[in-house]
Amino acid sequence: DVKVTQSSRYLVKRTGEKVFLECVQDMDHENMFWYRQDPGLGLRLIYFSYDVKMKEKGDIPEGYSVSREKKERFSLILESASTNQTSMYLCASSSGSTNEKLFFGSGTQLSVL
């Protein structure tokens, strides 16, 4: 069964901490994505990657960075966490083209205190 695994289901961090959210997929997909989900706003794209070491900004990249050193792993980094980054973070992956579906992880609920 295909899988996108996010390392933590719940995380609690303090303001100013550096936070790493990890995502691993086992489908050999080229594309990987980080979305943020907030009530009433739906999912908003933070960053995505279409190849190893390649990354592109999404719609709300401010305050975030990403790393993709291996094809199967895509990390989201909050350099200095702030309370307005409290949210649900969803990782997804897909194979190359536009009409291919995204496979999602179960999400990481991050609380920044």
């Binding site: 009433g40 739906g42 794209l45 083209s97």
Partner: protein, 114 residues
């Protein structure tokens, strides 16, 4: 720019009743269109997608959606709702460039009354 609007934030229906969730899109060409469902505590799962051909698309779990170009709509329907359909539903279109990214609507939360 591509965008998606789901006008209904929250809908409540009785079990066994019919359901229609609305989705309106803005897209430069003939769009690809998707509906995803998110059950509580889960990631998103694809219900169905449209990219060409028959404008009535069948999906999993008994859902269907109809693409209407004249109305820029892709509404999701189900003839008889089950309690297990309670979830959040998202409509989506591809973002710019052939990158595989999707732009999602705000989501509609479905509550099912017994």
């Amino acid at each position: 720019a591509q965008s998606v609007t789901q006008p209904d934030i929250h809908i409540t229906v009785s079990e066994g009743a019919s359901l229609e969730l609305r989705c309106n899109y803005s897209y430069g060409a003939t769009p690809y269109l998707f509906w995803y469902v998110q059950s509580p505590g889960q990631g998103l799962q694809l219900l169905l997608k449209y990219f060409s051909g028959d404008t009535l698309v069948q999906g999993i779990k008994g859902f269907e959606a109809e693409f209407k170009r004249s109305q820029s709509s892709f509404n999701l329907r189900k003839p008889s709702v089950h309690w297990s359909d309670a979830a959040e539903y998202f409509c989506a279109v591809p973002g710019s460039g052939n990158t595989g990214k999707l732009i999602f609507g705000q989501g509609t939360t479905l509550q099912v009354k017994p």
